[in-house]
């Protein structure tokens, strides 16, 4: 379970995040939507202890992320390309992340095999460094590395960006299956309302750092409300 308590982050006079209380239950897929500059990435950075909060805290499974590193054992995340070590080949990068999680090379390769459809023969065995892959394939490397250790909490920022339509569809399927198999809590931010409503069990609308709507989507009925909200905006 993820608990956000009195979380505030400002840049000068601009409020980036201001969430008094918010709970994300275990096994939920939370879709975070909002316009540019709404604070989605800032919120994720605060949740991953990559940014110092002005006040408040985030706990993942009762661990305050800013006070202990043990939440890193069961959390996988990919926010942007600054997560990738781009002078490694994808295979080397997966092995590196695997090693950080305590896997042998063989175990990592076995886990990677599960994502072969998503990688579509464009990533493994290419003899290319990550920096020379296309933006979409780099995105895939980042997403797979976040899922590699089969973490109980997954945080992905705009994962559908740069992906071609078939990869987007494949990713939706992959995330749903992953959630079904592992009961993991998944947080996904996106500008694509269709993809978000397709995969999320709950959707939070963020504007100016504040969660202004919290919509249940277990029945897949949030799209109308979201469409209406963003049309009005």
């Amino acid at each position: 379970m993820i608990l956000i308590h009195d979380l505030k982050k400002t840049y000068g006079s601009k409020v980036a995040v201001d969430i008094p209380e918010y709970t994300i239950a275990e096994g939920e897929i939370l879709g975070l939507v909002g316009n540019n500059g709404a604070g989605k990435t800032t919120l994720f950075r605060l949740m991953l202890d990559l940014l110092k909060a002005d006040s408040g805290n985030v706990t993942i499974n009762d661990i305050d992320v800013s006070r202990s590193e043990s939440w890193k054992n069961f959390t996988g995340a990919y926010l942007d390309e600054s997560f990738l070590i781009d002078y490694l080949t994808p295979e080397e990068y997966f092995c590196f992340v695997g090693k950080m999680c305590g896997f042998t090379k063989a175990e990592t390769e076995e886990r990677i095999e599960a994502y072969s459809r998503f990688m579509a023969d464009e990533i493994i065995g290419q003899k290319k460094y990550i920096r020379n892959l296309s933006a979409g394939n780099r995105q895939k490397v980042g997403i797979i590395s976040a899922l590699l250790s089969r973490p109980a909490v997954v945080i992905l920022d705009e994962p559908f960006n740069f992906l071609d339509p078939s990869s987007q569809s494949s990713l939706k399927h992959l995330l749903r299956e992953y959630n079904r198999e592992t009961c993991a809590t998944i947080l996904v931010s996106s500008h694509n309302l269709t993809h978000t409503t397709d995969i999320s069990t709950r959707i939070a609308v963020l504007e100016h750092g504040v969660i202004i709507r919290d919509i249940d989507n277990t029945e897949g009925t949030a799209s109308e409300e979201l469409e209406e909200y963003f049309r009005r905006e």
Binding site: L48, D49, L50, L51, K52, E69, S70, K72, N73, T75, A77, L79, D80, S82, F83, L84, I85, D86, Y87, L88, T89, E92, F96, V97, K99, M100, C101, K127, K128, Y129, R131, N132
Partner: protein, 494 residues
């Protein structure tokens, strides 16, 4: 017009840099340094006049100085290596309705007008005032200064060409061999001295306003600028196409380190960082080159029985590589720091790996020191003491920068990369770090006899090495306390 617009953008880039405020202190120090060197150059200019007048009375001092112009050009060539590698910020202008060649021309003209090209005049103006003025008046002094400036402009283009090419591949440093080799050959072949004679005539040509001297120098400068334009034009396409390492033939895995667990994995990562990215790779070979130069100076017994210089060279032979490399510790990692920070204790293991690898690299100077040890230039005790002193206190000190370095260094700063002009702060820290080992060594040898000083260094070194996990953990803990600040600055300077 274009030139002034480009200059305006460059000034804005510097002023709006996130580390502008911190750089102001560094800039003050740099300006202080410039003033010091300018005064020193004036002093040298005056002293050279008197030395030449008294030492070689049958020749005019300006003739003697002109004979030595190649020497000044060589120093100037290497001095420019201390400046940031030239990068042309051409990318933002590529899609504008401007001919590419015009933009390149503007950037090259700007390089020619660089105030650094005037710096030598601090030496040559007072010298000419004393030696040329009395024969040729102010026009003679003026002609001489214009000529020297043109010569430095040409030398600047030559240095730019080598440095831009070295950025692609370090091996291009070998370009200097045929140039300086042929000059040396023409000078030192029996009864020739053609090089010095040529420069003597050239200098006199400047003084006498001989159009041939100016046109010749100008032609060489323009020619070198043209070669630069041709090379840089090619590099634009190469970098835009990103064809360099698109298909890697051989992927080195450094599997040897696999057996050392997570730290071993980071050692592999460190080696891949060094050898797969242009900037660290170029740094590696440059620093190694400097180390070898130091070792050769010792092996060649350049300083004879001057113990002070021999020990100075020996110490820097050990520590130059580590100091230069570790002064930028964590800066390259700034490119992917977020990815590292979402894993547990990665930074601690990374610091350990960096330390072990740098310690392993010390084998190179130790082996190179064996010859001077055998010939008796330095003692084995001194060599071992400096080895462990470097591995201990020097590395422990310079690695403290891991806590404070928060500017991302460009991994593959190509020819069109973002300007790396904001490196003054790091340059300053490196300069300070360079002075510290010498001070400690001097203090010890001042208070203790040679053998005792060596033993003291050895003991201090061994104690610091033995406790490396403790002080590295301390660096890690302090770094984690500053992590938010550092991560934000790394992001802002990518």
């Amino acid at each position: 017009m274009l030139l002034s617009d480009i200059r305006k953008n460059q000034k804005l880039a510097a002023r709006r840099s996130p580390i502008y405020e911190r750089n102001r202190f560094a800039k003050f120090m740099i300006y202080f340094g410039i003033t010091f060197w300018a005064a020193y150059f004036v002093y040298i200019g005056v002293m050279l006049f008197f030395a030449f007048s008294e030492g070689i009375p049958n020749m005019e001092p300006y003739h003697i100085l002109n004979c030595g112009l190649p020497f000044f050009l060589l120093i100037d060539f290497f001095m420019r290596f201390l400046l940031p590698t030239p990068v042309q910020e051409i990318k933002p202008y590529l899609l504008l309705p401007l001919p590419k060649k015009r933009v390149l021309n503007a950037l090259l003209i700007q390089a020619g007008l660089n105030p650094f090209n005037l710096f030598w005049l601090f030496l040559f103006v007072p010298f000419a005032w004393l030696s040329v003025l009395r024969f040729y008046g102010i026009p003679g002094v003026l002609g001489y200064c214009v000529g020297i400036w043109l010569l430095m402009v040409g030398n600047g283009y030559w240095s730019m060409l080598v440095r831009v090419l070295m950025r692609q591949k370090f091996i291009y440093i070998l370009l200097i061999l045929p140039v300086y080799g042929s000059m040396a050959l023409l000078e030192f072949l029996p009864e020739t001295e053609w090089t010095s004679r040529f420069y003597m005539d050239l200098g006199e040509g400047y003084i006498e306003w001989n159009p041939l001297a100016f046109l010749g120098t100008l032609a060489v400068a323009i020619g070198l600028a043209g070669v630069n334009r041709w090379v840089q034009g090619k590099l634009i396409y190469r970098e835009l196409a990103r064809t360099e390492d698109n298909k890697v033939k051989h992927i080195s895995n450094y599997s040897f380190f696999e057996r050392y667990g997570i730290v071993g994995e980071y050692m592999r990562l460190e080696l891949k960082l060094i050898f797969r990215n242009k900037t660290p790779k170029s740094n590696f070979w440059s620093f190694l080159f400097i180390m070898v130069m130091f070792a050769c100076a010792l092996a060649g017994d350049v300083y004879g029985s001057n113990n002070y210089m021999n020990y100075f060279i020996c110490l820097y032979c050990y520590c130059v590589f580590g100091l230069m490399t570790l002064s930028r510790i964590m800066s390259f990692e700034g490119n992917y720091i977020d990815g590292l920070m979402v894993h547990k204790e990665t930074i601690y293991n990374l610091l350990l790996a960096k330390y072990y690898l740098q310690s392993i690299f010390l084998i190179i100077p130790f082996l190179m020191m064996l010859y001077p040890v055998v010939t008796g230039t330095v003692s084995l005790l001194t060599s071992a003491a400096y080895l462990f002193f470097t591995m201990g206190p020097i590395f422990a000190t310079i690695m403290q920068l891991a806590v404070y370095n928060d500017k991302t260094a460009v991994l593959n700063g190509g020819f069109m990369a973002k300007s790396q002009g904001n490196t003054m702060y790091q340059t300053l820290i490196t300069l300070i770090a360079f002075a510290a080992p010498l001070l400690i060594q001097r203090m010890l040898t001042f208070f203790l006899p040679e053998t005792e000083a060596g033993i003291a260094l050895l003991v201090i070194g061994l104690a610091t090495v033995a406790t490396h996990r403790i002080w590295i953990k301390n660096i890690y803990v302090r770094l984690m306390k500053r992590r938010y600040n550092n991560m934000e600055n790394f992001r802002n300077t990518r």
